[in-house]
């Protein structure tokens, strides 16, 4: 596929996009830029940059092409946040992430495995325990909201509010794993 990309083959580009487009959008871009249109712009820019600079990627490096694309996407997100001063706090978070995964990083982090899971558990440990419980029940364990409300001993309406507050609190506490 990489050879095809370097030759400018459309099929190779289609393969790359099919492999990474969706997960890059859902896992990397949208959580950091939860505005769909802006996130799609970042996705488009990311792949454009990848296709334009594909010759700069070395398969011999210890990082996968997904890591390279992910770094590009995060920097593009940072650009968007810089252009939008109202979202200063998110910018700080992304900047911190960019530092973590910048040039100094020598090993590709375990992005989707234990490190990420640990970062989420850490954030859950920093917020109100009831908020953490609500998030675990509804989002991680995928329980229906009625079951969640019953377990927490509240009404469904109250659970909805707790979950809403919990989501906002979690995003404040969550940091990308180092």
């Amino acid at each position: 596929m990489l050879e095809g990309l370097r030759r400018g083959e459309r099929d190779a580009a289609a393969t790359l996009y099919a492999w990474y487009g969706d997960c890059l959008f859902r896992e990397i871009i949208l959580p950091r830029l939860p505005r769909r249109e802006a996130a799609e712009d970042v996705l488009r820019d990311t792949f454009r940059i990848v296709l334009e600079r594909i010759h700069q990627f070395s398969p011999d490096s210890d990082r996968s092409i997904y890591f390279w694309m992910r770094t590009i996407a995060i920097h593009r997100i940072l650009d968007v946040h810089r252009a939008d001063q109202r979202r200063r706090r998110l910018e700080d978070a992304v900047e911190a992430e960019a530092r973590v995964h910048g040039e100094g990083a020598t090993e590709e982090p375990d992005l989707d495995g234990e490190a990420r899971r640990a970062s989420i558990e850490q954030a859950l440990g920093q917020i109100n325990p009831r908020y953490a419980e609500a998030l675990r029940l509804r989002l991680l364990h995928d329980l229906p909201r009625e079951a969640c409300a019953e377990r927490m001993g509240v009404t469904v309406g109250n659970f909805d509010v707790i979950l809403h507050r919990a989501s906002a609190a979690f995003r404040t506490a969550w940091k990308e794993p180092a």
Partner: protein, 561 residues
């Protein structure tokens, strides 16, 4: 909007599951959390590959796009002839090269008698007028203009032809004829024929073909070309695939005989370069174009300026656009033409490589039980330590398979990333009416698309209650194993229930396919969110149906996700 209203909208969106439109009024922090913890809830991007490619400004994809926007046909790699390979595959068809007449195939003597390599080819007016290459052509100095080139062509043609008719008066072209030729060239359209009007009176250039009936030997006045089949000259050379930026490139091969060089066009103007040496004295030079789509011959060495002469290209083969569309008539044939000119016995290429035969049904049946166990063990190993254990587990499965002399069927774990899942082998457990060998391309594609995308990690794996059940199941096999997994099939956690159903169905697969299918159906009924656990069930359902010979239903199952 009050907090309660926002909370209600957020809850409704979560309940709606995948595909529900994003509630616009929600805070970004709330949505970001949802996407972080449940990427499967995130909407799919509405960006197409065309959108991306449209924005590419540099690199190989920009070249492709620029070529298309210039209105010229993109240079098709497939149109470039690998002459060496072709000749090797058709050892007896040499004389058919570069011939479009009735020269008998294999009649080397007949071709040898006709030495013409040069050919005057009329050009039709150029297509497209505003390309950058054409603009650059307009800004060229006078000595690089078409008129000057044609005048030089006339002079060279005179030098080539006049000695043969016994009227050669010297190496210097007649100035009157040169002026007439220049005037004619200036009046003529850029891509008008460069034949007769550019010639001095009395001079004649016979269109060169490789047929014995037409043409005369090419004599450039330097060295008399030794007769040899045109096919040799062409076939000895390798075809350059480089896109030339304009002007000609000439063939340069060891030899001693000066052949005719390449032809370059820029937006319809021609710049013909006299080639360097060719082994057989026949012009098979390169022609290059900037937006003109002409390439052929060994175009590796630019022709020295001193060698530039208005000699028509020889054997120029259009690449990309059909010759007829550009008003081009050439004896040099494109690959399809050449192939069509080859007799049937010669056109028949080498036999296709043999395809490995699929394993026999008996072997597949014998392997089925072990394959199933491998799937489960691999999946468990992956899930026990999703990130780091995945490669080890795969290696373990492959090693196990190698020891058994077969290919392992490795089911991707939900803990693995989407790209890997997407490329997982489209393998259906063997045995029964349907088998992996029967999985056609469309079915394999549908199955690949149904493979899980690990948007959500297996958070539940750390819960003690689940680990205990999985530990008990690991010590069992077959139906007993499935029964243990089914203890979790009614778990209120949908992900746990669906994963347990998948494991149970896998355990039942070898012993009771019908029950396995029911277990899968029950698991699917638990939730519709696009989680890896549900995707596993979808894939397994299709596999079970395929094995049962219900192929249409299997396809429908894989595509229904």
């Amino acid at each position: 909007m009050t907090e309660q209203e926002k909370a209600a909208r957020f809850a409704a969106w979560l309940d709606a599951g995948e595909g529900a439109p994003l509630p616009e009024e929600l805070d970004e922090d709330v949505l970001a959390t949802a996407f972080l913890l449940r990427p499967d809830m995130a909407p799919a991007p509405r960006v197409s590959l065309d959108d991306i490619l449209a924005g590419v400004q540099e690199g190989p994809f920009a070249c492709e796009r620029a070529t298309a926007e210039d209105g010229d046909a993109p240079v098709a790699e497939a149109s470039v002839v690998d002459l060496g390979a072709w000749r090797a595959a058709h050892p007896t068809s040499r004389s058919t090269w570069n011939t479009t007449d009735e020269t008998p195939s294999g009649d080397a003597e007949a071709v040898t008698e006709t030495t013409p390599a040069a050919e005057i080819v009329p050009f039709a007016p150029a297509q497209g007028t505003d390309s950058p290459a054409r603009e650059a052509t307009r800004r060229r100095p006078w000595w690089a203009s078409a008129g000057f080139g044609i005048a030089l062509a006339a002079a060279a043609a005179g030098a080539l032809v006049l000695p043969q008719v016994g009227t050669l008066r010297g190496p210097t072209p007649d100035p009157v004829a040169q002026e007439a030729a220049r005037r004619a060239a200036n009046e003529a359209p850029a891509s008008a024929p460069i034949v007769a009007e550019a010639m001095p009176p009395g001079a004649s250039v016979t269109p060169a073909t490789s047929s014995p009936q037409a043409g005369s030997p090419v004599d450039d006045g330097v060295a008399a070309p030794k007769a040899a089949p045109v096919a040799d000259a062409v076939a000895e050379s390798e075809v350059s695939t480089g896109l030339l930026g304009g002007g000609g490139a000439s063939g340069s091969t060891p030899g001693g005989l000066r052949g005719l060089g390449g032809l370059g066009t820029k937006g319809g103007e021609r710049e013909v370069a006299r080639g360097a040496d060719l082994p057989s004295g026949y012009g098979s030079g390169a022609s290059g174009t900037a937006g003109g789509a002409w390439r052929t011959g060994p175009g590796s060495t630019p022709a020295p300026e001193a060698n530039r002469a208005p000699v028509p290209a020889v054997g120029a083969t259009p690449v990309g656009a059909p010759a007829e569309e550009r008003g081009f008539r050439s004896e040099g044939a494109t690959l399809p033409e050449m192939e069509s000119a080859v007799p049937d016995d010669l056109a028949a290429g080498p036999a296709p490589a043999p395809v490995a035969a699929p394993p026999s049904a008996a072997a597949q049946m014998a392997d089925r039980g072990d394959a199933m166990l491998d799937e489960v063990s691999v999946a468990e190993a992956l899930e026990a330590k999703p990130a780091k254990a995945s490669k080890d587990a795969e290696k373990k499965a492959e090693a196990s398979a190698r020891a058994k002399g077969r290919t392992a069927t490795v089911t991707r774990s939900p803990a693995q990333d989407a790209p890997l899942a997407a490329t997982a082998p489209a393998t259906v457990a063997s045995g029964g009416p349907g088998s992996a060998a029967d999985l056609d391309e469309s079915a394999a594609r549908a199955r690949r698309a149904a493979l899980p995308k690990a948007y959500a990690a297996s958070w539940w794996a750390s819960t003690p209650d689940v680990a205990v059940v999985f530990g008990r199941a690991a010590a069992l096999s077959g139906t007993a194993r499935a029964e243990v997994y089914l203890e979790l099939a009614s778990d209120p956690r949908i992900t746990v229930a669906q994963d347990a159903a998948w494991r149970a169905a896998n355990a039942l697969r070898a012993v009771d396919r019908a029950r396995a299918l029911r277990v899968v159906e029950n698991g699917l009924a638990r939730g519709g969110a696009d989680t890896p656990f549900r995707a596993n069930l979808v894939v397994l359902k299709g596999d079970l149906l395929w094995e049962a010979g219900r192929r249409d239903e299997a396809r429908a199952a894989w595509t229904a996700r």
